[in-house]
C-alpha cells in the first residue's frame, strides 16, 4: 500500500464510520474483526428474548467481549446515556458470560472524543473488577486495525481507491459529471460577481485543517487547476458561480453546527460523491473539486485581513 492509497482509505474509513450507526456499526465492526482474526472472532446477535447477553462480538483466543456503540453522526452525544449503557452492558456480560469473558471492550465511533465521564467509568470498572481487563476502541484504534489489513480486505471493506497515477491523470469527464450533479435541479441565480481573490497561503492553518485532509487538499491542488480550466471552458460562464453558491451555503450550514474542519470536509466530500462505493476516478475528481473550492475561498474562512483588503 502506498502512502497515497493509505490516505485515500483513511478518508473512506472515516466516511464509513460517520455513516454507520446502531446495527450497521456493529456489522461493520464484525466485518473488520472477522477479516483480522478469521474464525477466532465470533459476531454475536440478540436471539429473541434472550438478548445478546451484553456481547456484540467475542474473540476466543483472548476472551475479549466487545460491546458496540454507534452514534448517529448528526445527533448530539448524551453522556448520561453512554455512561449508563456501559454500566448496563458490562453488568449484563459479567453476569451472563462469566465463564468466557476475560476482557471487556467498548467499541464506539465518537470522532470528537469521548466524555471524561466515560474514561472515569472505565478506569473505575477496572479498579472494581480486577478479574477483567477493560478497553476503549474508538476511531483511531479502528483505523489502526483496518489499515493493517491486506489490500484485498481493504477493498472489500472500503472499496477501491485511486492510485497516485490515477490522481495525476484525473479525467475531466468525472469533474463534469460531479458539477452537473451539483447544479442539477438548482434554478437560482448565482452569486453576484466578486473581485478576484487569491486564497492566503496560511488558510490551512487558519482553519485548523490537519491530518489526512490537509494532505488531500495539498495533493489535489494540481488537479484543482484542471477544474478551474474546465470551469473557464464550460459553455455556461456561470457554472463556476453556481457550484460555488451550493458549496458556500453548505459550508455555512455545517460551520453553524460547530463541526470540526475534518468533519465539514468529510461531509462536503460525501455530498459530492454520494453514499456507497465510490470509484477511484470519482474520488480523484471529488478531491480536486474540493481543492478548487477551497483555493477559491468558497469553503472555509479566509484571512480576515485579506478579506477586508
Amino acid at each position: 500500500m502506498t502512502s497515497h492509497q493509505r490516505m485515500q482509505w483513511q478518508t473512506s474509513l472515516e466516511l464509513r464510520l460517520r455513516r454507520v450507526h446502531g446495527d450497521s456499526f456493529q456489522e461493520f465492526f464484525a466485518d473488520v474483526m472477522e477479516r483480522l482474526h478469521g474464525t477466532d472472532f465470533l459476531p454475536a446477535r440478540a436471539m429473541g428474548s434472550l438478548g445478546d447477553k451484553g456481547c456484540d462480538g467475542y474473540l476466543r483466543g483472548s476472551g475479549q467481549v466487545f460491546q458496540c456503540y454507534g452514534k448517529r453522526h448528526d445527533t448530539p452525544l448524551n453522556t448520561t446515556t453512554v455512561v449508563n449503557k456501559i454500566k448496563d452492558d458490562y453488568a449484563t456480560a459479567a453476569s451472563k458470560l462469566p465463564a468466557i469473558m476475560k476482557e471487556w471492550h467498548f467499541v464506539h465511533n465518537l470522532f470528537d472524543g469521548i466524555p471524561v465521564d466515560v474514561i472515569e467509568l472505565i478506569e473505575a470498572l477496572g479498579r472494581q473488577h480486577s478479574d477483567h481487563r477493560f478497553g476503549l476502541i474508538g476511531p483511531a484504534s479502528f483505523s489502526d486495525r483496518v489499515l493493517g489489513l491486506p489490500e484485498n480486505d481493504l477493498v472489500f471493506l472500503l472499496g477501491p481507491v485511486a492510485s497516485s497515477e490515477e490522481s495525476m491523470n484525473m479525467r475531466v469527464e468525472e469533474v463534469a459529471t460531479l458539477m452537473a450533479g451539483v447544479i442539477k435541479g438548482m434554478d437560482e441565480t448565482p452569486f453576484a460577481d466578486a473581485r478576484p481573490n487569491q486564497p492566503p497561503v496560511n488558510k490551512l492553518e487558519l482553519n485548523r485543517i490537519e491530518g489526512h485532509w490537509r494532505r488531500i487538499l495539498i495533493g489535489a491542488g494540481g488537479n484543482a487547476s484542471v477544474v478551474a480550466s474546465y470551469v473557464d471552458q464550460h459553455p455556461d460562464p456561470e457554472l463556476g458561480k453556481r457550484v460555488a453558491k451550493v458549496f458556500s451555503r453548505r459550508y455555512a450550514e455545517l460551520d453553524t453546527e460547530n463541526l470540526p474542519p475534518y468533519a465539514i470536509l468529510t461531509t462536503l466530500y460525501e455530498d459530492i460523491t454520494g453514499i456507497g462505493s465510490v470509484p477511484p476516478e470519482r474520488q480523484v475528481a471529488a478531491q480536486a473539486l474540493l481543492a478548487y473550492l477551497f483555493e477559491a475561498c468558497d469553503i472555509f474562512k479566509d484571512d480576515p485581513s485579506k478579506a477586508a483588503a
Partner: protein
C-alpha cells in the same frame, strides 16, 4: 456576470466581451458580422474560452444600456461622446 470574478475570467465577463465587441467596431457593423469577428478574434487568444451567442448578445445589450454603442438601420457603431 458583468465583472470578472473567482469563477469568471476577464475574457468571459460581460465587460471583457464588451471590450472585444468595441474593438471590432472600427466601422458600423451588423450583429452577425460582429459575432463572427468577435469569435474569430477570440479564437486567436492563447486562453480562448467559448462564449455562446446568447452571452455575446448580453454583452451587446450591456454596451447599449450604458450608452457605449448606438444602433441605426441594423448597424452597431460606437456611441458619440455626450
Amino acid at each position: 456576470m458583468i465583472l470578472p470574478g473567482k469563477h469568471l475570467s476577464p475574457h468571459r465577463a460581460i465587460v471583457g466581451v464588451g471590450a472585444e465587441i468595441l474593438a471590432q467596431l472600427d466601422r458600423p457593423r451588423d450583429v452577425s458580422e460582429l459575432w463572427e469577428r468577435v469569435r474569430a478574434s477570440r479564437a486567436t487568444l492563447q486562453q480562448a474560452s467559448p462564449i455562446s451567442f446568447d452571452w455575446f448578445v448580453l454583452a451587446l445589450t450591456f454596451l447599449y444600456a450604458i450608452k457605449a454603442i448606438d444602433e441605426s438601420g441594423g448597424l452597431m457603431r460606437p456611441a458619440e461622446p455626450a
